[in-house]
Symmetry: C2
Subunit: 464 residues, 2 copies
């Protein structure tokens, strides 16, 4: 079980003689993350993740992985260092390169600290023995740090210079097959965002520096978003106004159905997908052997989810000025338990109830998902404030009323600041419901996936 | 379940017109990893990890994490980019810096692609609100890529320029307390290496560029090791000959007990621990408030395990010229199942047995731990060869003898190339034993840990 007294949790206390730099533009949630000691600003747009926030990152990684594997993804790791020469071949060093971190090794050879890995993964395929059409599709993903020397890094983790990303690269025999992969992987994306229980929208996007024929972005819908999105309520069209150059040039009627029922909402971009075609496989010579044994360029897609960005954006959408709020599946802990203060007259009997409660909770949600705030030198009120600011889905207080001889009660606080006085059995039932809801969120995915995988296997003839 | 036909598994076929570069010095296991398509050489001492090897890396990460958390470790993430300025403060840029990758951002500010994070983590502590003696010890760890521009990278993953590392940093109130942390963390290291079931030794080491007062290395004992170690059979002394400048200067009698019973063995370094004292906390101003409320420098330790190096070294020690062999807890899959060839006369009936077997195996070891080699277009012999080269702990063949009416038999092959003809029930029993052994390896750790944690809690007065 996690004990609050042992946690490394460096809440921010600005030293008296500190020079506060106004350069860093912090959003609401980023301000809370920093003040609460979950994230610390490193140098210049880089961030240090502290233990509580690291738990959320690890949960997010696991959730993304489940969905990628369900979509047929296989995990790999590509080096951070990519030879600049590969990027010259695809022409991506011809334009503005000011956002790239470039580094030379001791022999003078130039590398990029990779902002993305299309070149590296395509060159890897090109250097492998030619793959047969029978082995396709292949969908390879990794999770690791990416680097972009942003002119203006801001909003903390939301737009950092070093960030954590899940990137998947797909390889198919034809544009039709690649479209099928695109549909399968984007379905997995939608499942992931539904599991976070946040309003999101998929919009048509500009493919920009990536190139390729088709591209979509996933946005959380929120007034704090940096992008302006168009949504048609007459048809299913949704698009980023960026596609039209700038926002002012965006049309006032739907580009798809010409209806005037086109509204504008703000969005925070959290994922981006591209149907790349042969833009990378051609110049880098990545081919497969077709049914006649002749080499043809692989048809590619790429699919990114900003892990740290998803978390930052979710917090930005959900949190209040004073309290963090997390997607249920990503909260650092499911339940926080606050016990009696040392020296209070009910301490001994309340501690017996607390001990028994912790054992029962560990059975329900696993000891790892519990935070026990046993800082008994602090008042219950002070600890409850911390718990509310951290935004645990459920906080249980074992206080004076727990020791009442008739009808002993615990306090249950939800992250929505709802406060209930309940008997132990009622508390355990609500915790059980919370865990069941989490399981349902995970499970719904698996059932869909199984039927999808069966369909895919039929399509590709891999029925066993 | 994992299906061999769908795996991305780019076995090496040297193209006819390839120019083979003799610059890369490959060890036995690295040659196998490359030929079998588990790892691909990227550019110049960097490596791409393919899906089968990635499974082992993920298992190794999980095992290291369990042990770090059992030793009171809390997981964090520090940026790859560390400002060079911090390294100037500790004097580590004054010497030879040719092994460091240095990079400038768009404003001209210089960063290291971190080879290690003492400066970064200490500066982080220094910038936090002063920590109280009550909150110590703190033990923070991370797992991520590290960078070292080796003059001669060689032996593949064993000495790569970009490698995966677990690094822990500890903070204590005094040298005595730091020694206690050192004992707790190194006990966790020894547990980890015991769990890998490989012969290892802890030796006194030179602290080198890290500085500090005490330092130990962990080595796998193997004739392929690059280091020469001294071991005394009269007392418990063990040391790296590096400590004495060079091997020739190493003594012929034990430096500890003066006995002549000093033997030399070769070792592969896989981990390094340092008692750092205040070498970093003093120049960077990382203090805690002592019992009188006065600031004092934190007393530090640091503890590294090379994740990719441990795996490479374990394979080097265990494998034969033709076959990989894995520590049980790190094998990519526990069991490989090979079914009948398509078109064989026993195909239909053998497939029914195979199907039932797979279901039962999934119950015993979990579907995720199974590799089903269902490439029915290949002969059983060809697939068995692949399985033996990959070194699965257990490979089960459902062949012609499985369909005998009287006494149907399966073939069970161990990674030691032992071949048994067994009934289904016997096969299931051996798989069950294998899983039980794995569980025991994991469990022995937990029991030790619980008693250690209780002792620590008593020492630090955190008994609840």
């Amino acid at each position: 079980m996690n004990k609050a007294s042992r946690l490394f949790w460096p809440t921010l206390v600005t030293p008296k003689n500190a020079v506060v730099k106004p350069t860093e533009q912090l959003s609401r949630s980023q301000k809370l993350l920093t003040e609460l000691g979950l994230v610390k600003a490193g140098s210049n747009g880089t961030y240090q993740i502290m233990p509580i926030a690291q738990r959320t990152i690890d949960k997010c990684i696991q959730l993304v992985q489940r969905n990628m594997q369900a979509a047929g993804g296989q995990k790999i790791s590509l080096p951070v260092l990519t030879p600049a020469q590969l990027w010259k071949k695809t022409g991506r060093l011809d334009g503005d390169i000011s956002e790239f971190y470039m580094v030379r090794d001791r022999s003078g050879k130039q590398f990029l600290m990779s902002p993305t890995h299309e070149e590296a993964v395509t060159a890897m395929l090109a250097s492998a023995a030619p793959i047969s059409y029978r082995q396709l599709p292949q969908r390879l993903y990794q999770i690791g740090p990416k680097f972009r020397d942003e002119l203006k890094s801001r909003f903390g983790l939301m737009r950092a210079k070093e960030f954590l990303m899940k990137d998947m690269y797909s390889f198919d025999v034809s544009l039709d097959a690649a479209r099928q992969t695109y549909a399968t992987v984007t379905a997995a994306y939608e499942r992931f965002f539904r599991q976070l229980e946040l309003p999101f929208v998929r919009v048509e996007a500009a493919s920009g520096i990536m190139g390729g024929s088709q591209s979509h972005e996933y946005h959380f819908i929120s007034p704090v978003g940096e992008d302006t999105l168009l949504q048609c309520s007459n048809c299913s069209y949704a698009g980023n106004t960026e596609v039209f150059g700038n926002e002012a040039d965006a049309p006032s009627t739907c580009p798809s159905c010409q209806s005037a029922q086109l509204s504008r909402v703000r969005g925070v971009e959290v994922a981006h997908t591209f149907l790349l075609g042969d833009k990378y496989s051609k110049p880098l010579g990545a081919t497969f052997l077709n049914t006649s044994g002749k080499p043809e360029p692989l048809v590619m897609g790429c699919f990114g989810i900003g892990i740290t960005r998803v978390i930052a954006a979710a917090l930005e959408v959900l949190s209040t000025e004073q309290q963090l709020r997390w997607p249920k599946l990503l909260a650092p802990y499911d339940v926080c338990v606050i016990g009696p203060k040392a020296g209070s007259k009910e301490q001994a009997s309340a501690e017996r109830i607390e001990h028994e409660l912790l054992n029962q909770l560990a059975q329900i949600c696993g000891a790892e998902q519990l935070l026990h705030d046993e800082r008994k030198e602090l008042t219950i009120g002070k600890r409850l404030l911390d718990a509310q600011r951290l935004g645990h889905p459920l906080t249980i207080v074992v206080g004076a009323k727990a020791t009442q001889l008739e009808a002993p009660k615990l306090e249950l606080h939800t992250s929505g600041s709802e406060k209930l006085e309940l008997e132990v059995a009622e508390v355990l039932q609500l915790v059980t419901q919370h865990e069941q809801h989490k399981q349902q969120l995970l499970q719904s995915q698996l059932e869909e996936t199984n039927s999808e995988q069966q369909q895919e296997q039929k399509r590709f003839g891999h029925v066993h």
